[in-house]
């Protein structure tokens, strides 16, 4: 360990490449008294490159900090690849790494969020780290109505999703960690949006899914001469006066770092929330203005309802996030609320529009890591799902299957692997999202990277891979089987390597 002892604080940070995590790291490095030890997954060289590119727009020169010994990067993974030596001399832990998967798939989000937190707490106890900050969520436990106190709920709420449940379980572990010489803080940010200056974001789940749903509506209306884009028949489940609690990521990081470094010697929970968030009606107005759409009406009906318009089917297929944002009627107790806020709302129309513009400019995150790997002969699945598929599917016979409406997730396991969710409407591929939370799938395929390559090159069949155990199906098996001939058609028409 080379981090020098000339700093007052040595912070061990997990989740530094995440949306909030890299803002936290930037804020920590703004404090002259603080050095950081950063846990990353994968190879240190790749992670360093990735982290440097994330921090550069925030004005942070990672290379300089690494050279000065103010930042150390260690490679590992929670819960089972944690070297106890990494916590030597650490004064604070900020545990921001998390799986944001709403619904359970395999062991996640529980393995990452509960087992990972447990492992880190135990290591911190052994290493006698005095301060532990757990980054949770304002929605831990899945409460849907009423006031959220700065306390751990007695039990998860009915309808709590796996992400919220895992955070609730982890919060209980964190609070139990408190003891002589050990102070734990739980910080609960609400719904993150881009930063105040530019609307910059690096993850596009959460409220962004709602925005993407509206963008898709706009695109669908453009292709439909019979529908007036200012009278789109769309029932919006929710109430106009509900206030989705949006907070800018930069503000959340600043408050979190200040809370951690200036914390008293008492354990506590902080709801990191917006005291005056916009209403659902305001957000709806802003989205409609940005995408030049009108016609959405709030409704008390519960989706799915009978005889939906095709716009409603498309809109709601984006996933459960959309169902939730205008429904949860919550207020939050927050010890930050007194005297912390200026007159201007944290999130207003100007800021929200910046977020939308930034997201559109970076294609909702699709424009960041699309490359055919030149270093090796192997194919980058990101290139395949985000470029190749998008380019060729419109020319495939499979795109004429009007009855085919589904969101399909592909999990590619391997060094270049990842997750992609593809949304098909009337046979057309209308959206491809990366990461676990991008879209809620109806079914999916989990395939090893080498097998995936053989399949898309036309050298192997998905069915054979399934029966040999190299591929698996999850979710709606019947729908997955129905998709097999469609995929075979496309793979026959457009095998990689022959185009």
């Amino acid at each position: 360990m080379t981090a020098t002892r000339k700093y007052d604080n040595l912070v061990f940070l997990t989740g530094s490449t995440g949306f909030l995590g890299h803002y936290i790291l930037a804020k920590l490095l703004n404090k002259d008294s603080t050095a950081c030890r950063v846990l990353i997954r994968g190879s240190i060289s790749d992670a360093t490159t990735n982290l440097a590119s994330l921090l550069e727009p925030l004005g942070v020169n990672l290379e300089g900090h690494l050279a000065a010994g103010r930042v150390e990067i260690v490679a590992g993974q929670l819960p089972d690849q944690l070297n106890p030596n990494w916590l030597t001399d650490v004064t604070h832990i900020i545990h921001a790494a998390a799986s944001t998967r709403f619904r359970r798939l395999g062991n996640d989000p529980y393995r990452s969020n509960v087992d990972g937190t447990q492992a880190l707490l135990e290591a911190a106890r052994t290493a006698k780290v005095p301060r532990f900050c757990f980054v949770s969520t304002a929605y831990a436990g899945g409460i849907r109505i009423g006031n959220v106190p700065e306390e751990i709920l007695n039990a998860p709420a009915v309808g709590c999703n796996d992400y919220e449940n895992s955070k609730w379980l982890a919060e209980k572990l964190v609070m139990a960690w408190n003891g002589p010489g050990r102070v734990a803080t739980i910080v609960r940010p609400s719904i993150l949006v881009g930063d105040r200056a530019r609307g910059r974001a690096t993850a596009f789940a959460g409220i962004y899914l709602l925005a993407r749903g509206v963008e898709l509506l706009a695109r669908a209306v453009e292709n439909d001469r019979e529908t007036d884009r200012h009278a789109v028949p769309l029932g919006i489940m929710g109430k106009p006066n509900v206030r989705p609690n949006l907070i800018p990521v930069c503000w959340a990081a600043e408050k979190l770092v200040r809370t951690v470094l200036e914390s008293r010697d008492e354990p506590g929970i902080l709801n990191l929330v917006n005291p005056a968030p916009p209403t659902s009606a305001q957000i709806k107005d802003w989205l409609e203005e940005y995408f030049d759409l009108r016609g959405g009406e709030f409704t008390d009906r519960v989706w799915p309802w009978e005889n939906p318009s095709r716009y409603e089917e498309g809109f709601y297929s984006a996933g459960e996030s959309i169902l939730d944002y205008f429904l949860r009627d919550l207020t939050f107790t927050s010890s930050l609320s007194t005297g912390e806020f200026a007159a201007r709302p944290l999130v207003d129309k100007l800021h929200f529009m910046k977020c939308l513009k930034f997201s559109a400019r970076v294609q909702w995150g699709r424009a960041t890591r699309v490359a055919h790997s030149a270093a090796s002969e192997s194919l980058d699945p990101a290139w395949y799902f985000e470029k190749y598929l998008v380019r060729h599917i419109p020319r495939s016979a499979a795109s004429h299957i009007s009855g085919f409406n589904a969101i399909v997730r592909f999990i590619i396991e391997g060094s270049c692997g990842g997750e992609w969710a593809c949304r098909y409407v009337a046979g057309r591929l209308v959206e491809t999202g990366r990461h676990a939370t991008s879209l809620r799938e109806q079914f999916g395929f989990r395939v090893k990277q080498g097998t995936f390559e053989r399949i898309i090159r036309g050298k192997a069949k998905l069915q054979d891979a399934y029966f040999s155990g190299e591929a698996n199906i999850f979710g709606d098996v019947l729908a997955a089987l129905k998709m097999v001939p469609l995929m075979e058609t496309f793979l026959h028409e457009f095998p990689v390597g022959l185009i």
Binding site: H400, G403, F404, F467, G469, L478, L481, K482, L486, E488
Partner: protein
Amino acid sequence: MWMCLEELVTIPADGTSLNGQLAYSAAGRTPCALIAGSHPLLGGNMNSNVASSLRTGLAERNAAALSFDYRNPRSPGTSSADWARTVSEFWRTNHVPQEADWRNDTRSALAYLRSIAAAPTVLIGYSFGCHTIAGVAADSQAAAVICISPNPRDNDLSLFQSLQTPLLVISSDNDFSCTAGDLRLWYDSLGGPREIEIFSKAEHFFRGRERDLVCTVSRFLLAHGLIEE
């Protein structure tokens, strides 16, 4: 166990032809088994793990076993538009008009099998194939019928109700296509001699359990004197 021989065969069917694969032992061919596979629009084909393991497994027990591909829903001459219409219909309803052709294909495959092997016949349906053998079982004078992973909710299997041929039903306790309740309801509605075998956690596909499947089928055929120990 006998040495198993396999050959690709062409089966005449309503003015067209079907691809088939025939397995038999070098020593003899008693009985002969027809294996009707799963739905072609769900990836079913004559070489699925269930069809191929039964085919070779039964041949090693001195039977002749034939599996076949239903006529291709996208055969040459089918326009892209027709194919798209067919698949769209399937996505909406789980059924397509071609299913009548596939029932006829099963009848054609049975006629072909009987033309090459004069022996008691066993009809084996897997998944959607249970539906296609239902259409021929009643008047086929089969010696035994075996339904693997039947789905009585989506496929019409009512023709089995009057069947008096010995019937073996094989399913799994976690078959995605059919709940235990639906299966039991259908099984209890049957009138003839029958037995049922429920595999634990074999899903719809018996992936990795193919050998157990062959053993179960063989035990049933042995009990009815259709194969020798």
